[in-house]
């Protein structure tokens, strides 16, 4: 089989995602066309706790999984037996949450006689770009930034991923969440900081931009987070009033400059022609704008998914799974969740 789109325009793949707090399913036709994209988000439940509670997330998944999958199939007008494959996120993510999707997808595939392929969640995020940019073909470079991940990845071909840089400590989205909590904006931090920053002065406070010695492209956000916390503490001790919008804007500027700066350095050094972003943080307006400007300056084509495909969703898993399926990858009935799965790594996914 080839990954040539015109030869596989009728391929039907169901994508199932349950790695964190979204129960999601989607039907993809011809590797890139989204026939349905159903997302059940538990965000309101977790907001009370200031973050995702793994056990509560897992309980939510088992309650909703049938309904979400059924709705995805019915909106797409597709029956189970019409499917060519079922793609499911098997890592990275919360193990208990992943296991619901994995056990469900495997049993569904077994019962319907449809092959199953385990998909890497982060590779799914990257593949969301194929939905929003129909002409996009590898090679390209992609920054994946979310609550749990910050990676700079070189996509040399379909199903071929090479990590260029990663975070040494906190993920970018994690830093947004922690800072948002510290300045009283609450959870989830990304969109709340994005909004608050629009009213603030990004140059009001200078926060540090960390460089990592061993790999110049690697990210580090814990120093930035600590600097914000120290600033807040010192204001409190001195009895100075804190301007939340200024803190949000100044923190965001430092985070965005780090993400964009390292990415553009790597892209320039490697002569990259196309640069994409993905993951929850990719929907941050300031980050998008900065990447647009910097890519434009360097004559690099800038690509990004629509916001609905930046959050966790089943469509991106369906797309990544479609290509993995065409490349010959399959999973057995013993596919397990792999909570710390790396990009480009395959465990329990083999070539036929």
């Amino acid at each position: 089989m080839s990954t040539n789109l015109s030869e596989n325009k009728d391929l039907l793949v169901l994508g199932i995602e349950s790695s964190c707090d979204e129960t999601a399913a989607s039907v993809i036709r011809g590797c890139r066309t989204v026939l349905s994209n159903v997302i059940y988000s538990q965000i309101d439940i977790h907001t009370v706790y200031g973050g995702v509670v793994p056990e509560i997330a897992s309980r939510g998944h088992i309650e909703k999984i049938n309904l979400v999958v059924k709705q995805a199939l019915s909106e797409a007008g597709v029956g189970l037996k019409d499917l060519d494959a079922i793609a499911v996120t098997y890592g990275p993510g919360l193990v208990g949450a992943l296991l619901v999707g994995v056990a469900h997808a495997k049993a569904l595939g077994w019962a319907a006689g449809v092959p199953v392929v385990g998909v890497n969640h982060i590779e799914g995020h990257i593949c969301a770009n194929f939905i929003s940019n129909p002409e996009l073909e590898p090679p390209f470079m992609c920054l994946v930034a979310s609550g749990g991940h910050s990676h700079l990845v070189n996509v040399s071909g379909y199903g071929e991923y090479e990590i260029i840089a990663r975070t040494r400590d906190d993920a970018a989205g994690e830093a947004f969440d922690k800072v948002a909590r510290a300045i009283g904006l609450g959870y989830p931090g990304g969109p709340k900081i994005d909004k608050a920053a629009r009213e603030g002065d990004p140059d009001a406070i200078v926060f540090p931009r960390a460089k990592v010695r061993e790999n110049e492209y690697d990210f580090s956000f814990s120093g930035l987070k600590s600097a914000v916390l120290n600033y807040l503490n010192s204001c409190n001790m001195k009895g100075e009033k804190i301007n939340t919008a200024d803190v949000a804007a100044s923190f965001q500027k430092a985070a965005v400059e780090t993400l964009v700066g390292h990415s553009m350095q790597a892209a320039s050094d490697r002569g990259v022609r196309k640069f994409a972003i993905a993951g929850g943080v990719a929907s941050n307006t300031s980050l998008r704008k900065a990447f647009e400007e910097e890519c434009d300056k360097r004559g690099i084509e800038f690509l990004r998914p629509e916001p609905v495909y930046c959050t966790d969703n089943g469509a991106m898993i369906g797309v990544a799974g479609s290509y993995d399926y065409l490349l010959g990858y399959r999973s057995g009935l013993d596919l397990n969740a792999v909570p710390n799965l790396s990009i480009g790594e395959r465990k329990g996914v083999f070539k036929v």
Binding site: V48, V53, S58, R59, I62, V100, A103
Partner: protein
């Protein structure tokens, strides 16, 4: 009538196919159990595939899928539930939610003594229940719940009847049972001492005959406990 039964509530992963003829005769066509290092995610579905192949059963041949629906290991329960929900969805059949401890007690369905299944629930508690099967009729002396062993021991002592203890909780609390239980008792032998999908299937068949089934979409395990965050958060957030 055919039932596929699953139990992955504890350390054992177990599945069975039960057939009931029109004359009421029941038979376990196949049973497969594993209590080894691998996770349920790696063992349960391959075993289901195996017993279905051995008995020429296709998913659509089943009239219902039975699952040990709790209590038990939270993750283990969900692997069983997700598997059952998907198979039931594909075959368009209902689910039979078998209470884990009731199913476990069915290992001793024709026992004259009282039957006390027990699972280690950690945090100094057991998931336990107390059943009597005299005259072929079940008497639930104590429905399944999470409780301290001494509470169960006191209750058993107050009844003054002989008891059979079984389950990983009985193993974990063996010394305490010996010191606290004042009525005559025995511990189950190894082959009857753990969850067994054949027992789940037999109980499920009775429940099916009584119309005790649920829509697969609505099924969720009965954990008997809230999550740690809800327990602790309830204090912090004034939720209770």
């Amino acid at each position: 009538m055919k039932i596929l039964a699953l139990d992955s509530s504890g350390l054992v992963a177990s599945c069975a196919v039960l057939e009931k003829k029109e004359n009421g005769e029941e038979k376990i066509l196949a049973l497969c159990s594993t209590d080894f290092k691998k996770t349920h995610s790696q063992t349960l579905l391959p075993m289901i595939d195996h017993i279905c192949a051995q008995t020429d059963s296709k998913p659509e041949d089943f009239d219902a899928v039975a699952v040990a629906a709790g209590p038990g290991s939270f993750t283990g329960l969900r692997i069983g539930s997700a598997t059952a929900k998907a198979i039931a969805m594909a075959a368009d059949v209902p689910i039979i939610e078998v209470p884990t401890l009731y199913g476990l007690a069915y290992n001793f369905r024709c026992e004259k003594r009282l039957v006390c299944p027990m699972m280690d629930a950690r945090r100094n508690q057991v998931y336990s229940a107390l059943y009597g099967f005299e005259d072929g009729k079940t008497v639930i002396y104590k429905d399944q719940s999470a409780l301290a062993l001494e509470e169960m021991a006191e209750f058993i002592n107050s009844l003054g009847k002989e008891v059979v203890f079984l389950g990983d909780g009985a193993d974990a609390y063996k010394d305490e049972i010996v010191s606290r239980v004042k009525v005559p008792f025995v511990f189950a032998p190894a082959h009857l001492n753990r969850q067994n999908a054949a027992s789940v299937a037999v109980l499920a068949s009775e429940m099916y005959a009584e119309g005790k089934t649920v829509n697969a979409d609505d099924h969720s395990p009965e954990y008997l406990r809230v999550s740690q965050a809800e327990r602790e958060g309830a204090k912090d957030f004034n939720l209770t």
